[in-house]
């Protein structure tokens, strides 16, 4: 198991610069395990920290996994996030969601729960918090899931399913920021989370929406998967698709 984890680590020593106790460490292990179990070779994998569909357009064999935070993506990169959602390329987006901006020392982030106190918002984050799943759902993303970094087995399975899925997959991973977020802590997450019931119908878009927008609990699991959808790279390569030509004939 250690070997499988190691094969995706950089062959030269690249120090992992996350804080001790940060959920990102566990999440990375989960991603590595998922990739190994899917038999994806490192040379066919591209990991990015910003959305770039051009890669998928230029080489369809590649597996593209994008890792980002809730301020990099819905914050400064919000526009790229929503446009990637509508285009639907076969990429997997994994959001490290710790509900606070940390590399700049704990300002409120778009996913901060309301009334979070942060240095640049001393009296509490008063905005509606940004729910990546809510927007992904309304934007018709075909695969939507939420996991908890601490639950290795379930989260790994979820990431596997997302990567194997053909289409734009969004996996929101709740991970406590051990340094800066003193509200959304491990204990807080433990109280809030529960896995979706076995009977949850992953084809029911409206049910998924209701579950994603309910604010009291944080349900985990695959909310939604929709198989019949067209990929951006398919559309791009079938430029002379007869159906499309018919649609645009005027």
């Amino acid at each position: 198991m250690n070997e499988t984890h190691a094969e995706f680590n950089h062959p030269h020593i690249t120090d992992v610069a996350w804080c001790p106790g940060c959920g990102s460490h566990i999440l990375h292990k989960e991603i590595h395990l998922a990739l190994h179990e899917l038999h994806i070779e490192p040379e066919n994998l591209i990991t990015l920290s910003e959305i770039d569909e051009a890669i998928k357009l230029s080489d369809r064999k590649l597996v593209v996994v994008i890792e980002s935070g809730e301020s990099d993506m819905p914050g400064e990169g919000g526009n790229h996030f929503i446009h990637a959602l509508r285009r639907n390329a076969d990429v997997t987006v994994i959001i490290h969601n710790n509900m606070v901006y940390d590399p700049t020392n704990a300002q409120a982030s778009p996913a901060s729960q309301r009334s979070t106190k942060a240095p640049a918002r001393v009296n509490g984050e008063k905005l509606k918090s940004f729910n990546p799943l809510e927007i992904a759902l309304v934007m018709n993303a075909p695969f939507i899931a939420r996991g908890l970094a601490g639950d290795i087995e379930q989260t790994k399975m979820m990431i596997k399913e997302a990567i194997a899925f053909k289409g734009f997959s969004v996996v929101d991973i709740c991970q406590p920021c051990v340094i800066f977020n003193k509200i959304n802590t491990c204990q807080w997450f433990k109280k809030k989370i529960h896995y979706l019931p076995k009977g949850h119908d992953t084809t029911d878009h409206n049910a998924a929406f209701r579950l994603a927008t309910g604010s009291n609990k944080l349900p985990l699991g695959v909310f939604f998967r929709h198989e019949e959808h067209e990929l951006y790279e398919d559309l791009a390569s079938y430029r002379l698709n007869p159906a499309l030509s018919a649609a645009s004939a005027r």
């Binding site: 120090d15 610069a17 400064e76 640049a120 001393v122």
Partner: protein
């Protein structure tokens, strides 16, 4: 508190003028806190002071490695000091990486206080020492005075009955070091004790544990034989009687914006996005709501500046703060502010670039971007701060120029000024320049139509804010007809407007102070011309050169665009001009371009400030060349 004053044995106390100390350890060792506390105590003591925190860009880089070393350097003195010291006299090294990373900057014969637990096999390996080597024992430190102290063990010993968890106990080890240094420099513990009680109001036992660790460090110095030969030191106070506060550059910027808004009678609005090393300006202002300050943490850098333009249009003193990558994103909006001709302050806290570059390290490489980084002909005033306290005066001046000349102004700081601190004698409101916004009064229906781009003798238009009756007008980014402000594509009009906008900026030179000589004769062999945070290093180097009898002077630019009117004359009074910069020679280009002279360039692009020795050496070399 008398127990910290009495000593059990007679230990010699030697007077010294200046000492530079470095606290270095892993970024989890609490060195920034220790340094800050030490600096506070020294400041309250009335000693002259300059500090420089230096930490890695990752919040927690791997423990024990060179990349994870966090340092806090300070120089304190009984005469004015302008830098944290070219080299330090004393280094606290909590682990082997801290020693390895900083040894080259320790004076020969300097003191090392080493936490021995940080020199075990694991730590030595993480720091990259060869197997079996330990600098504490292998003679490699023979040129220094080394005090190996089992800091962790002694802290644990002191707190064994504190009831704290072992993790909490271990975190108090920095207080032990602090206590030891207080003993070494005959400084009182009371200030830090007060701070700890205030900080741990709800957990008094935590304050008491920290104090116990600090006292343990103090008494360790007092009671062991270890420091008997070295003795203790005393740096006598220098500051005049008065009320002081200690500020970092970023805090000073935030205070200045608030002060300018009060003085001008405007509301302050800051639209901003978190970015290292500028974020503390947003954080400090977010806490200033009791002064009516409005801060807006926007979704990105562009929204940060554009929201400020909206607020400025509404009649607020509007500002945005950022660092290089953010300024790059804001450039289109800056062009809008230029053509709208509205007041706006942009504080750019420079860091190493390009791109993400060196986020926590200072550089002066955004000068070109500040001067020219916009599309079209879009000149604007550029001014620079030269010390943490000067960040206040530079930012205040930026706000004054913005409001009185209806223009965006870029105020340059950098990562060194932003985080460094120095004592500041509390300023009184009367000493601050008046700031007079030129609001357009309401217009009667019978009066001639309002002309938004009609100018006064300084080519400045008036500020007509919404809510003022009779002044309804439309402005935008499209070129506008002279005076009326209506959209115009007329070729001659565009040229006229371009020249008017440039002339307005040039005319600011009429109302700013003339350039002065900071130190040295008004005529001579060499002028060292600086800008920004190189002030301290240049000042110290030129002082030493003058002491050596060299014909050198120092001038430091606050106004880079427009230049003070007498700058040309000053430059002509010296045989040679030398410009030290933390970039590849940007001011040299601008000076050469403006005055057709050929200054000598001294550059450093290493993400660290100049030290005075580097500048002094260059001065000496240049003067030798001139003589021969």
């Amino acid at each position: 508190m008398t127990d910290t004053k009495k000593t059990t044995r007679q230990v010699n106390v030697t007077s010294k003028t200046s000492v530079s100390v470095l606290f270095a350890g892993d970024s989890g060792d609490g060195m920034q806190l220790t340094g800050t506390q030490f600096a506070n105590t020294v400041a309250v003591h009335g000693t002259e002071l300059n500090t420089f925190p230096n930490f890695p860009s990752e919040i927690r880089a791997p423990a024990g490695t060179i990349a994870g070393v966090s340092g806090f350097q300070l120089q304190f003195s009984s005469k004015p000091v302008y830098t944290p010291g070219a080299r330090f006299d004393v280094m606290v090294a909590m682990n082997s990486a801290a020693l390895k990373a900083n040894l080259k900057n320790l004076h020969r014969g300097g003191i090392i206080i080493a936490g021995t637990e940080g020199f075990d096999e694991k730590n030595l390996k993480l720091a990259g020492y060869p197997e079996g080597a330990n600098p504490l024992h292998d003679g490699s430190l023979d040129n220094y005075i080394v005090f190996p102290v089992p800091i962790l063990q002694l802290t644990r010993e002191a707190l064994k009955e504190s009831g704290l968890s072992s993790k909490e106990v271990d975190r108090c080890k920095n207080m032990f070091v602090l206590g030891l240094l207080y003993w070494l420099y005959t400084l009182p513990l009371e200030g830090t004790m007060e701070t700890l009680y205030a900080k741990f109001q709800k957990n008094v036992w935590m304050a008491e544990a920290n104090i116990r660790a600090m006292k343990a460090g103090y008494f360790f110095g007092d009671e062991t034989e270890l420091f008997a030969n070295l003795g203790r030191f005393d740096i006598s106070p220098h500051k005049q009687h008065g009320i002081y506060r200690r500020v970092t550059g970023n805090e000073a910027c935030a205070i200045a914006l608030t002060a300018a808004s009060k003085k001008a009678g405007l509301e302050l609005f800051l639209g901003s996005y978190p970015i290292t090393p500028a974020t503390e300006i947003l954080q400090t202002l977010a806490k200033k709501k009791k002064y009516g300050v409005k801060t807006f943490q926007a979704e990105d850098e562009i929204a940060g500046i554009v929201s400020s333009i909206g607020a400025a249009y509404g009649g607020a003193l509007a500002a945005t703060n950022t660092s290089g990558p953010g300024l790059a994103l804001k450039t289109e909006a800056l062009g809008l502010a230029v053509i709208l001709e509205i007041p706006l302050v942009i504080i750019n806290v420079q860091r190493g670039g390009p791109s993400t570059g060196l986020p926590t390290k200072p550089e002066q490489s955004d000068l070109f971007m500040a001067m020219y980084g916009r599309h079209g002909e879009a000149p604007l005033p550029v001014i620079a701060a030269c010390s943490p306290v000067d960040c206040f005066y530079a930012t205040y001046e930026a706000a004054r120029i913005a409001i009185e000349h209806m223009t965006p102004v870029i105020c340059l700081s950098d990562g060194y000024l932003a985080l460094s601190s120095e004592p500041w004698e509390v300023e009184s409101p009367e000493n601050l320049a008046e700031i007079k916004p030129r609001f357009q009064p309401a217009r009667e229906a019978s009066a001639p139509p309002y002309l938004p781009y009609k100018r006064d003798e300084r080519q400045v238009r008036s500020w007509a804010i919404p809510g003022t009756k009779g002044l309804e007008h439309r402005i935008g980014g499209l070129e506008k007809q002279n005076e009326t402000g209506n959209v115009s594509h007329d070729p001659e009009n565009h040229e006229l407007m371009t020249k008017l906008r440039a002339e307005k900026i040039d005319l600011i030179a009429e109302s700013i102070p003339l350039q002065s000589i900071d130190n040295g004769q008004l005529k001579g062999d060499l002028l060292v011309l600086g800008w920004g945070s190189t002030y301290g290093a240049i000042k110290t180097a030129v002082e030493q050169a003058i002491e050596q009898g060299l014909s050198v002077a120092h001038a430091h630019l606050r106004y880079i665009h427009p230049f003070p009117k007498n700058l040309k004359e000053i430059l002509g009074n010296y045989k040679q001009v030398m410009i030290p910069e933390l970039n590849n020679g940007q001011l040299v280009h601008i000076i050469r371009d403006t005055f057709l002279i050929a200054p000598v360039s001294l550059t450093k692009v290493q993400g660290v400030p100049f030290n005075e020795m580097e500048i002094l050496t260059k001065i000496t070399d240049l003067l030798k060349e001139l003589k021969s």
